[in-house]
Amino acid sequence: MNKMNQTINLGRRTALKVGGSAGLLALFGAVGLLQSGLAQAEWNKTAFSAKSMDEALNAMGVILPENSASIKLTVPEIAENGSVVPVTVESSLTNVEQISIFVDKNPNVLAANFSIPSGTEGMVTTRVKMGQTANVIALVKADGKFYRASREVKVTAGGCGG
């Protein structure tokens, strides 16, 4: 039933491509220019328009990391309605800087991205739409490193269907 440890076939990229605003941000971040939480996290159009996980990660300049036990992803196993699927991402890691939520079978795979200023806990709850049964994937950046958790949500038909 549970897909926590199941590897999803997303395809791997071998090289990290730095480009676009995400790449620039990563650069600034690296030299500590954007530590204050006032980071102007620009709405990453390429990432939010991405049609596949590969495309989205590419736009964000991230290589899909392995599943990590330090990320707790809470989603319902079955959602009666795909228009509201609650998602909670929590991490036991210190210095969480960013949390991203993806739905791998949605037309736009990246649902939301959260920049976590220092002093804010590494957790967030929100609600996403799901067009069909799919994997919800949480990507967490902490101390400059990326971690992942993913789980399947079954979207079913509820009510009389009339």
Partner: protein
Amino acid sequence: MNIKSILLLALVANGAAYAAEAEVSDSDRIAQYREMISDGNPADFDEMRGESLWKAVAGPKQATLEQCDLGKGAGVVKGAYAELPRFFKDTGRVQDLESRLLSCMSTLQGLNADEIAAKPFATEKKPSDISSLATYVVGQSKGIKMAVSVKHPKEKEAYEIGKRIFSYRAGPYDFACSTCHATSNVRIRMQDLPNLNVKKDAQAAYTTWPAYRVSQGLTRSFQWRLNDCFRQQRFPEPKFASEATVDLTMYLAVSANGAAFAGPGLKR
């Protein structure tokens, strides 16, 4: 949050191994889903909208609804819904909330009741004033025990007729309300169906309407609930706030007596 849900949430939190081993039924998983979406109800926005409509001057008579008598005296909103439907002397009939709001909008504000009744429900494009007003009024009975009276002969009669409508089979599918709502522990697709002849189920169902429907992105009133049940029953359309709908509401409301009102709810 009930114990079951807490356990379920704990299960989810603990992840793979535990969830796989435990015998969790699909119905439990649905219950878990409902628990997870129960916080942050967008019906609150409809309540806010209703409250401002209640206090806003409107209609040819340029009046607010603040003098509307919902059964507990002019202007008393708190707890009014927990005692509806009831018999009203001034109109000489038993009225549910929406029927009563219709009376108030017509007598106090001079609005055309027929026009309101012709398009009483919110659509994707247009909110419904009477529906938002209902959401506001029910919100003012949150936590108050349902205490609907059948002392007046007309109230008793409404209850009896409502009970009969509940098992009235007709239409191309031979359905009655009771076809789906008179058996315990059954579901339609994934949806658990309350047995409305059983007090506990009737209470849980009635006290959580009106409700925000996540599948529609709209807050739905009790009249809408009945209307859509009849649609799926393959019946013709019940007239808005008609005696048939009020009587059926009376039967269901009385069945819910004793339970604290918990709406507006949040549903699939």
